[in-house]
Amino acid sequence: MDMSQYRELFISESREHLNSINELIVALEKDAGDRETIDSLFRIAHSIKGMAASMEYADIAELAHKLEDLMDRVRKGALPFDGGAADLLLEGTDLLEAMIADVEQDAPASRDIRGLVQRLISYPPPSTEIPSIKTHKTEQPPPVQPVPLNASGKDEGRQAGSDASQTVRVKTDVLDQLINLTGELITNKYRIMTISSQVGSGSLDEACVELSKLLRGLHDEVMKVRLIPFAAIADRFPRLIRDLAKKSGKEIVFEVEGREIELDRGILEELSDPLIHILRNAVDHGVETTEERLAAGKSSRGRIRLAARREKEQVVITVEDDGRGMDPAKLIASAIEKGVIKQEEGWLLSHREALMLTCVPGFSTAKEVTEISGRGVGMDAVKSAIKALGGNILIDSTLGQGSRITLKLPLTISIIQALVVNCAHLKVAVPVVNIIRTLELKRGLITTEGKHKVFYMGEEAIPLVSLNRIFGLPLSHLTGEAIPVFVSEVKGRKVGLVVDRFIGQQEFFVKPLGRPLVKLKGLTGGAILGNGEVVFILDVANLM
């Protein structure tokens, strides 16, 4: 029998199971006697074993079998579920994940499972006491109650069979293809509308209006298909926090809210790394050590809460901790010391602006680089990633009480609203989400401060920069009384970007730039106007 036809199904189903294992183990560490969770863990290992054996992946089947045996002992009450067992199961899960990745890449089976298999068989180690997670738990979890072999108990049914009949699995590239085609249709709609305006036919105009409506409907439906619950990435985080907390010797309670909130899969995929970084910061720099917490009159366990919620056309994700918080005065002092800002600039910063200094490239207040937060990647990378998704980041913090990072994200990508502007002979589209304000600036309002031309928006001095100059285009001689400017944020600072002319706003289907254009700084993609003209989409965050 040709088994290769089942390979993809094996990979996807095994991965789903492995994700659940991580979650279940973390849950079981909180409540070691929960029979449903114990049963689920046993069943999942059993299931992976069965699939791998059918596919004749002997090593995967063998390792899964040993994990199943360990859980069977726990299930039968022969073994308490303790920190050591949890560590072994997680180690096994990691190894299985790597082996399945090998299968996916057609790599030969080269992982050595013997050591782990042996430790699983002989657990608990005969000569030593059962190890406990001292850093993570204050006391040994109670031994598990014996469970009858056939008991299945109630289960939430994560494999939910009843739903399975009404859903189909679709390959993600098909979803990408759908959004691509929808985008092309939108581009074509503008082309037809351009022609229609030249032809001057009433019935063609009507057909265009109808076409626009239908396309709006199609766009909405296609976007819905691409939505994935936040749980798809959030469910990996309890395991991450557990491991980080263990490593840093802190006690942390982690909560996730809004697992069911849906986001575009493209956004979700890009969101994982920034969130990992923020969570790492919360464990590493936010939550204090147990001693510090007790000395500050707090409970010994730190709390980190990850929440997602929908707000109109945005998804808002927050990471809150009840740790030591950030001190704006210290942040400002450190920024001045590092030359990120000048002393007099520091005086003018508000509380919130001072907190945002953490997102300026090269800035880090950590006294030492720890293994946990790593090197090189800072909050500035997080901010650029969020900006690249068309989102925004906000930081709140109260000294001694904790911090909150808020990410505001659009629901969709690929198809965006943008303002088209002229720079010399070039047309550029600026995503509307990146524009704080557009204005026709009267020349009289422009003053010179030092070497820079600035204008005042309220109390704030906004430096003016010519977009033509950034792109190395000839400067135009703007003759009018007012010059077109849009205000945007570049690397944490508000900047007024001068252009030759505002043309108008429309929706764009953004396509990635091919080589060598992709290397151009300040551009994120291209799109086609109704008349066939190509416009570049401005990457404001990385413009300068």
Partner: protein, 121 residues
């Protein structure tokens, strides 16, 4: 051949593979169920000639589902699917009315042989 089957297994992979094996021999797979509760409900709905039943499943395991199906229809032909090492369970299943057993991982020839015998063709 007009023999209708239902496949019960919590693993989509296993259901698709078993379906592949059985359809090769011309059987009609009219229903799939992913747990014991769904299995009992679908059995009532479609009355398959033969049901293949996994044992270890969430919500209601295969033996519980078998017992309920036998209570609904004393003539039900249910074949259990079990892994090596579950001999004790197969005895319980036999006592509850299971007609035969297929061992996992599936050997296509053995699967076809068992189903053929139960179908009486």
């Amino acid at each position: 051949m007009d023999i209708k089957l239902m496949i019960v297994d919590d693993s989509l992979f296993m259901r698709k593979m078993l379906r592949g094996i059985l359809e090769e021999d011309g059987y009609q797979v009219i229903a799939e169920a992913a747990d014991g509760i769904e299995a009992v409900a679908k059995y009532q709905e479609c009355r398959p000639d033969i049901t293949t039943m996994d044992i270890i499943m969430p919500t209601k395991n295969g033996i519980e589902a078998l017992t309920e199906i036998m209570a609904l229809d004393g003539g039900a032909k249910v074949v259990m699917c079990s892994a090596i090492g579950q001999e004790a369970l197969t005895q319980t299943a036999h006592a509850a009315g299971a007609k035969d057993f297929i061992l996992k991982p599936f050997n296509p020839e053995r699967v076809k042989e068992v189903i053929k015998r139960i179908a009486g063709v």
